[in-house]
């Protein structure tokens, strides 16, 4: 049905299965981190559960071999497509020396890998958005053919950084796609107290480029929308703002208690839209997945997650001497 091509897809595999694998691996890694957290391993988990379809959808629409990713913090599925391994992710989670984001200096979900063209995140919400614009400016400046993808949350959209960045990208028609992953919450603050509009995407018109709302729980819809935006960027026609409507199933982080600000009923109802569930059903319906192949996939993923956990738990810490390095060249 969706036999679309994607820059990084191996021939033997359909796009949909590849997306599902990335989503499932992200979800299972997430579950493992939260389990490790409860067992006293690691201090800080950030869930991607509910954001996986968006990440998988846009990542397959891009070309990791040349495009730059300036991710949102919950983009685990996209980062896996981009080349981060489960070991990378769990070493990052535990703050161990092999962590590619910073050898244990950064908290979890502060991605980064120069080799993989994943720009580094700080904790400051939206602070990375101008960096993405700078990377996009460099593409135009150097006549390089890459596109820059920049994710941020609904909460982050309130910051002035986003305004200044979008405005600048519009003026120079930079090859960039902004993607607001709107899960309706900034920690506990609901969208109604973050903005008076329904769609962040509507802001794009005020900068002079298209804004599109997409169902972020549907990886194929995200893929299609992303493709259009990416092609527009590659053509030199400038930015697009995509707003992917998603849902965050778990608390904000492992330090949060979401029962204080949303009902269990709401979360349960949202489970019906869980992309892992709905997309799986679709793959079954399309006969791309059956019990046997699903079991094999789950086994493969469990093995990868087990391996990653063992590796990360046994990996060396940041040592005292290393702590003093890399202030300057």
């Amino acid at each position: 049905m969706h036999a679309m091509t994607s820059p990084q897809l191996a021939d033997i595999e359909t796009l949909e299965l590849a997306m599902y694998r990335a989503m499932l691996l992200a979800r299972r890694l997430d579950e493992r981190m939260w389990a490790l957290n409860r067992q006293g391993h690691g201090h800080f988990a950030v869930s991607c559960a509910g954001h996986e379809a968006t990440g998988a959808g846009f990542a397959f629409a891009l070309d990791p071999a040349r495009d730059y990713l300036v991710p949102q913090h919950r983009d685990v599925s996209a980062l896996l497509v981009w080349g981060l391994t489960p070991r990378d992710i769990l070493c990052h989670y535990l703050g161990k020396a092999p962590d590619p984001a910073g050898a244990g200096r950064q908290m979890y979900a502060h991605w980064g890998s120069r080799r993989l063209r994943i720009y580094s995140l700080s904790s400051v919400m939206s602070g990375h958005v101008p960096h993405a614009v700078g990377i996009a400016l460099a593409a135009k400046y150097s006549r390089a053919e890459y596109v820059t993808w920049c994710g941020f949350g609904d909460g982050s959209s309130s910051k002035g950084d986003v305004h200044e960045s979008m405005n600048f990208a519009a003026i120079h028609k930079l090859p960039i796609v902004f993607c607001c992953e709107n899960n309706g919450l900034a920690i506990s603050v609901p969208q109604s107290k973050q903005m008076a509009v329904e769609n962040v995407a509507d802001r794009a018109a005020g900068y002079g480029f298209p804004g599109v709302v997409v169902d972020g729980m549907n990886p194929l819809a995200v893929y299609e929308t992303a493709r259009t935006a990416i092609e527009r960027a590659r053509r030199g026609d400038g930015p697009t703002l995509i707003e992917a409507k998603v849902y965050r199933y778990l608390p904000h982080t492992s330090n949060d208690d979401d029962t204080r600000y949303r009902s269990r009923g709401e979360v349960e109802r949202a489970r019906e839209r869980d992309p892992l569930k709905t997309f799986r059903a679709q793959l079954y319906a399309e006969q791309l997945l059956d019990e046997k192949s699903e079991t094999a996939l789950e086994d493969e993923i469990r093995a990868a997650v087990d391996d990653a956990a063992d590796f990360a738990l046994g990996a060396p810490e940041l040592n005292a001497e290393e702590t003093f390095k890399h202030v300057y060249e």
Partner: protein, 337 residues
Amino acid sequence: MSQRRALQIFAMLKSIIETIRDTLRAELARDERVFILGEDVGVLGGVFRATEGLYNEFGPERVMDAPISELAIIGIAIGAAGVGLRPIAEIEFADFIHSAFDQIVSDAAKLRYRTNGDWTCPMVIRTPYGGGVHGALYHSQSIEATYAHFPGLKIVTPATPYDAKGLLRAAIADPDPVLYLEHKKTYRAIKGDVPDNDYIVPIGKAQVKRAGSDLSIFAYGMMLHEALAAAELLEREDIQVEVVDLRSLLPIDWETIFESVRKTNRALIVHEDTYTMGLGAEIGARIAEEAFLDLDAPIVRVTGPDLPGVPFNEIGEKTFLPNAQKIADAARRLAAF
């Protein structure tokens, strides 16, 4: 006292976070002009629970959840303060106050001066700072040194529940903008007696926490407690350490500092913040200017190292942060000088 009894007493004492919450509640009840504005301060009650329950008690207009807009939170508080309200702006983590730097230093700090005293800015900015809770580069920063450079602002940081209440009340009553810094590691770790009456702790006054004759340690926030622990270690070695809690970081109580130096003739300054241009710089220079002849030894600073941030990894974090042991080592050398 038995360990069990000690734990019972500890449980009866108030933590800093409880004290802040109770003081905020009392101030909201006492003065209708007081309101709280910040991220997650409402329904959630703050990421550290400093405002827990206040939303239900006082409603969404007095305990306002803000979007992620540090600049606007501070700027709006400045405007509201100008026309008669008494805003208490909360910045979720001190690390994120940087987005509002311009508002704080260009406006809050300069408004009274630039208008010849016409417009003013009686507001409080509360924010948790400091490391030791695995917060990494962006949830561990000490920000006091940066802001202590801007006349027009005041800065306080309590190290005890008693001071947490007294300084918060003083800050809210103050006619000028006050940065009220809460060391997040002290929130639950430090408990103490908090009187019910309406006392204030005046801004600009330090406190000698422990008298001593061999050397003076100047500290604040969480590091006060590390300094006190170091002093206990050293007492066993017969080194008598005086420990001063600065409490107010702008203005600093120079008289209490100089008096202590006149007595002990040796000055050790402790802070968690990085070394170069940390607050210890001003304290060291001021002593070298105004109490030079009282010094029998060089100034010593025990501080975080000159690194861009506190690493997440525990070994990295421990490597970064000063503690009682590191303070005691430096104090021992200073006493022996």
